[in-house]
Symmetry: C2
Subunit: 333 residues, 2 copies
């Protein structure tokens, strides 16, 4: 196992400790196990607070999205494992600024169960909690079963847009409406070339043959919809974009935002080659790219692969895309 | 070869095309081959301009450092190959705002030869050019031969500090002085776990056995100083930090800036575990970390590995570290 770690059992603890040392001006821990982290200035009084969470192993997801103009707090679990409801509750308590809390997280069984329980516990303390579950992965379930789809990199847009709305002083209902609107208008599809290695297991989570790729694979290695020989970047881009557009038609003349997300080991050079293909495919259909994000946003440790997310926008969503944010993972100086 | 590319011969062209499409508001090309790229607002009148360049395959180096508060232009070559003197000259002409141009680049034979020639050609056009060559890799040559060392991730500090000085309206001599001061006060040492694959070659540039690592390896796979079984993150950190501090003593009570650079495939989780170790080692010696950068700054495509750079600071360098910058690779919204 080629990793820079100490004890495989302490990977998450030491990662969190390093992160808190590095970003103590922006983040603080509200539990002795460091599994609940919030903005250093939390709670922000008079603002709807937004929390997320999930398993570790996806940096910058989730911790990288805490900050001004972004999220208020996160609960993090072990590698690929849900945090507990108590960890989520502690995050919730620490970020509540009097205007309620919105949970935004990916649609995975453990997370749903624990966030729902945390919401019930918060309710007992008179903290109003609403929930929007991200279900952007088109490959995970067919049409008609959208609400059963997994949440992957497109969740970034739910965060970004809802947080921008909260930053403007909107109510919990309004912030929730924006998160739901973002979820309804974003689709993601990924492709993996290599597996990742769970530190505590020490071997790859699955196998992909030399010269093979898997289209539609999830960020924990969930099976995709098509395995085959590696195609060119242009061919793969065509498959992903056309699947997304079949699932979510976008009218000619529309503006979209595009997120090209590296899953871990894929070089930025390849993400730009991929963006080039996606941009051209959209342009050919008369779809304009209003904004784009290219880099690592939701990883699977050292997995080689990428995903494409497309957000269908209107004037409201575009104005929220323009709101700046500051997080530990976006250096300013 | 597991890469998202089309034609191995077109990797750089298509990457540059994708990059220019994505960041047309911030970057522009000044040659039909796109190998000379400058700030969209270049030339900036009345400001010393800074140019860099080198081979492709190291994103965000070099292109990611062009922008306000950072560099003015770059010339880029093929994967791991120097750009031509003509490409550098075209960059130089396009960024010259009347106050001269500073070249900052890593110490590699082809780059030195071509940048020197470009400087001579610029001189014929009455553009004053000065040069500072980055030599931060302690592992590449022993003490006494510092000027023959390679330039690696620590070059980021030369860029950042010199650019901040230029932004403040300083003269070419002053900006050069800062770049030299940064180079004299920064040391880097890296460690690799896996090789990278040149697209046009299709196989790894070298082999490292399963369970082995190589300490001191360069960002093009240049041999390191010690190959052995993989050690823990804490042990590797100790080797790198103590080698750096032996080469460049840092007094108790000093302030430093630390850069933990991922070489490509190494997950951010591991970089934070590594930062934790580096921070603790410095703290034990009474050295305070004034600022830190953790992420990918100078990669070697999909190489797994990392490097540590330590910048010894004084009040002047710290005030320059605080100057904000905006580049295509640092999203603001």
């Amino acid at each position: 196992m080629k990793k820079f770690i100490n004890d495989p059992e302490k990977v998450v603890d030491e990662m969190l400790e390093g992160l808190l040392i590095a970003h103590s001006d922006q983040l603080k821990s509200v539990r002795s196990d460091n599994r609940a982290l919030v903005r250093a200035d939390a709670p922000v009084s008079g603002k709807v607070a937004i929390a997320t969470g999930g398993g570790s192993g996806h940096l910058p997801l989730f911790l990288g999205y805490v900050g001004k103009g972004m999220l208020d707090g996160v609960a993090v679990g072990d590698i690929f494992a849900s945090p507990s409801s108590q960890q989520m509750l502690d995050t919730t308590r620490s970020i509540h600024g009097g205007e309620g809390v919105l949970y935004i997280y990916g649609n995975y069984g453990g997370d749903v169960m624990n966030f729902d329980m945390a919401a019930e516990l918060a309710d007992l303390e008179d903290i109003r909690v609403e929930t929007v579950v991200a279900t952007d992965d088109v490959a995970s379930m067919p049409q008609g079963y959208e609400h059963q789809r997994r949440g992957v990199a497109g969740m970034f847009y739910l965060y970004k847009l809802a947080a921008a709305k909260a930053e403007q002083g909107a109510s919990l209902d309004e912030v929730k409406r924006i998160a739901e609107k973002a979820n309804a208008n974003v689709r993601t599809m990924g492709v993996a070339l290599t597996p990742c290695i769970l530190p505590a297991v020490g071997r790859p989570t699955f196998e992909i043959g030399e010269g093979e790729m898997e289209i539609g694979m999830g960020i924990h290695g969930e099976p995709g919809i098509q395995r085959g020989i590696i195609q060119t970047a242009d061919e793969v881009a065509n498959t992903l974009v056309s699947t997304i557009l079949k699932d979510m038609p976008i009218e000619k003349g529309s503006d979209v935002s595009v997120l090209i997300n590296g899953l871990g080991a894929t070089p930025l050079e390849e993400l730009y080659i991929f963006y080039r293909a996606v941009h051209k495919l959209l342009e050919q259909k008369g779809i304009h790219v209003y904004s784009r994000y290219i880099g690592e946003f939701a990883t699977s440790m050292e997995m080689a692969g990428l995903s494409v997310s497309i957000l269908r926008t209107d004037e409201e969503l575009r104005s929220l895309l323009d709101v700046p944010f500051v997080t530990p993972f976006r250096i300013q100086n």
